[in-house]
Symmetry: C2
Subunit: 463 residues, 2 copies
């Protein structure tokens, strides 16, 4: 390959940056001693190989619809691309309607390059028309231990190497509130582990921009009505006091759904969040709610009688529905965890994301990366209409036992298996045959600086 | 603390280096902005604290038996020490018979220092007489994926922070032979994953010296008769050919115990190993033996008939006993895995190491560090005499799913629990109360650069 990447069409910053980035990977990380440009006095042993048809001098990048919109990926982005690698004198090109398709095609192009012992980079002639099976291909990352921004940026690189397009940021939980709110700075001042274990507005903007440059959406999750202990550090009135024998215990439970302050607060906070996180999807959480505290609280009981709410599940529905309505008014689409659906809060007909079989914290012994291939997003009881409502899925890196030191090796290459299942056509490869490919992709990530656990047990990467 | 460590007695290199090392940790890693020496114009708010009795100006280090022997730790080393921290005008001292005791006492001294918000380092007055419950306190590290030397050195640092004194190096296995033998260089040339995934003589010497400087013995394990597939790459005649219907299948099984070459080879190799690894203990492995291949081999059957060996277990015993005898002649003590004992190979009355409840690869969800406190080395059916034969234990980091990227976070702080159980008196603390201490020690290791997984789930380290 003499000259590597040449842009024909009007470029965009995202495209220019992506070309720089991938050129750097080719030069520095694909083959340790790659000669990008053969020198005059160096032999070219590959020329005698009967399969040699010529040098790939140029790859034309053709962006068919150059950047009409502001350059942020969204739920409707098109990612398809066409990649043609032909013999020497024909045109080698990567074309796509959108910059997002070019990004995916560049990743494929790099994955097709293979170094050989003669220190050349080879690529086979090929013609590829490719697009993802699912629109929403994400990872949930729970940062409750505080994961440094530099680690999150590196994780976004890894997402792009796996053609994942959603970073679902679980940015608050019982133990820590990590987002510095402009409206309510007390939330992190009092709810974070430390004043340094937080994400500033600048951090968030940097992460959103870095993700966008890689075709990755950032979807924030501000999880209520449970998992809000840290919110209560600054705003105890947000939470429902717990009682024993009609006397307050000093403990707090779920968000207090009877209090006007709760809804004013949530509206102010979500208004800010929708402004700061430009994606038009917002995650409202609503998982794992324990009702004991509500049950003990006489004010809650009175409220339920007044409003004729016959169960605590319905009281949760009452609260969540108000938050969903709030999100609707803010012109964002809301996502909630499945139990809101199974508890009857939402109506059927909603779009669905699969994550339950891709919980990365279920590590068992490790070296079991291929088991994540056994997860098929449409394997549930439902008719074709219902299965069409599945728009994708997420690999979930819950954070109870994950910190800055082990998050990278625990996520990869396990999340790669989910990524491939979400991109490729159904049933493309059973888990029994995926091991070698996962091994190869792991080595590719290692060369690019991503520290992985071993995908399948013993094994090694060729240098 | 005005002047920190001052050596009174005749120093040794080990002592001098340890003082440099620990002084560096105090200055750079114990408190981010510690003022080692208060400046004239800086207020000293701690002086008004009613518990303030003065500065710790000097810690005298008293080595009572200065370095009579060559300075390598061994199975009989003494590690006890006395540490006195008193009020300002009395003598503050750390004394021990041996340099190994000084090393352990220095670690304790550092652990007693605690930073406070006023940016001072504090220490409480105390008087400590301390020594380990068990002589042998180790970790097994299985390097089959190849762990870079720099990572192993860092691991030795971590061992010293936990007062562990044995690095049991599982340096060969089925998949790779990582030691470059002077006698049989073909072993790693053909049996390693890559020619760069090996440990040179210089690497081994560096590791042994680095360990010795921290009071850590390096015990090599050259595991036979199973787990030797990699040995067979260069020396197939070492292994027993497998047969089907009396025809060789081309596969190889366990070491061939009928072949004189096997014993000549092992004698040459072990003679070298005993020379390269100065510790007078050698691990011979002998675990997890599958007999199918021996059973299929007519030569093995004929040999057993000739020598009146009535079972495959006894044939294994025949082989292992010859290797143990070989080790005896080389004047080293041999260690074998427990099943050799339970299979009746060795006689009773042998010293015992516990490891079964400290297998670090049994991770389950993680965040379960305290469960390793539930392991008591004498909790087995046996009389007092038998229990006295327990000389210690090892936390085992088996390597199937562990590589350079996840070994550190998977080992720590889990191995710290085993380390404390092996040092402290029996029953000192149940697992239910160990969590906070494990958390504190994890933060201490983090500050010193050791990347750990979270010990107990959510939580954080004060900076």
């Amino acid at each position: 390959m003499r000259h590597i990447l040449e842009v024909l069409s009007e470029g965009s910053d995202i495209l220019t940056n992506a070309l720089d980035r991938y050129l750097n990977i080719i030069v520095n990380q694909t083959l340790p001693k790659t000669r990008v440009k053969p020198q005059e006095n160096v032999s070219e042993p590959w020329k005698t190989n009967k399969n040699f048809v010529g040098y790939l001098d140029t790859l034309d990048i053709i962006l068919m619809e150059p950047c009409k919109h502001r350059e942020l990926p969204d739920a409707l982005m098109t990612e398809q691309y066409v990649l043609n690698i032909t013999s020497e004198h024909a045109v080698n090109k990567l074309s796509a309607q959108t910059v997002w398709g070019i990004l995916r095609g560049l990743e494929t192009f790099l994955q097709l390059l293979y170094p050989t012992a003669d220190e050349a980079l080879h690529i086979n002639c090929t013609s590829i028309f490719d697009y993802p099976r699912y629109q929403h291909r994400g990872v949930l990352v729970d940062t409750r231990h505080y994961i440094p921004v530099s680690k999150l940026l590196k994780m976004l690189d890894a997402l792009s190497y796996n053609k994942l397009n959603v970073f679902h940021w679980h940015i608050t939980d019982d133990q820590s509130f990590l987002y510095i709110s402009k409206t309510y700075p007390e939330l992190s001042q009092q709810g974070a582990y430390l004043l340094t274990y937080v994400y500033t507005q600048q951090d968030v903007a940097q992460i959103i921009n870095y993700a966008a440059a890689r075709g990755i959406r950032v979807i924030a999750e501000f999880d209520t009505s449970g998992h809000t202990r840290s919110w209560g550090e600054a705003f105890p009135e947000l939470l429902s006091p717990c009682y024993r024998n009609n006397v307050p215990t000093g403990q707090y439970g779920l968000v207090d759904p009877t209090n006007n302050f709760t809804y004013e607060f949530m509206e102010n906070l979500l208004t800010e969040v929708v402004d700061v996180f430009p994606d038009n999807v917002l995650h409202l959480g609503a998982d794992e709610v324990e009702f004991e505290c509500w049950q003990s609280n006489p004010g809650i009981t009175a409220f339920m009688q007044t409003y004729n709410i016959s169960s605590y599940v319905k009281l949760k529905s009452y609260y969540i529905q108000k938050i969903i309505d709030m999100s609707d008014k803010l012109n964002v689409t809301s996502i909630v965890w499945e139990e809101v659906f199974t508890n009857g809060v939402t109506n059927s007909g909603f779009q669905t994301l699969l994550s339950s079989c891709w919980y990365l914290d279920n590590l068992s012994g490790g070296g079991d990366g291929t088991k994540y291939y056994d997860c098929e997003p449409t394997d549930f009881n439902g008719n074709d209409e219902q299965k069409k409502l599945v728009i994708g899925g997420e690999a979930c890196m819950w954070g109870e036992v994950v910190n800055e030191y082990n998050i990278e090796s625990r996520m990869w290459p396990t999340a790669s298996a989910a990524a491939e299942k979400l991109w490729s056509v159904k049933g493309v490869d059973p888990s029994s045959q995926a091991g070698h490919r996962l091994e190869e992709h792991t080595c590719r990530m290692n060369k690019r600086g991503i520290g992985t656990q071993p995908p399948n047990g013993p094994g090694f990467c060729e240098l």
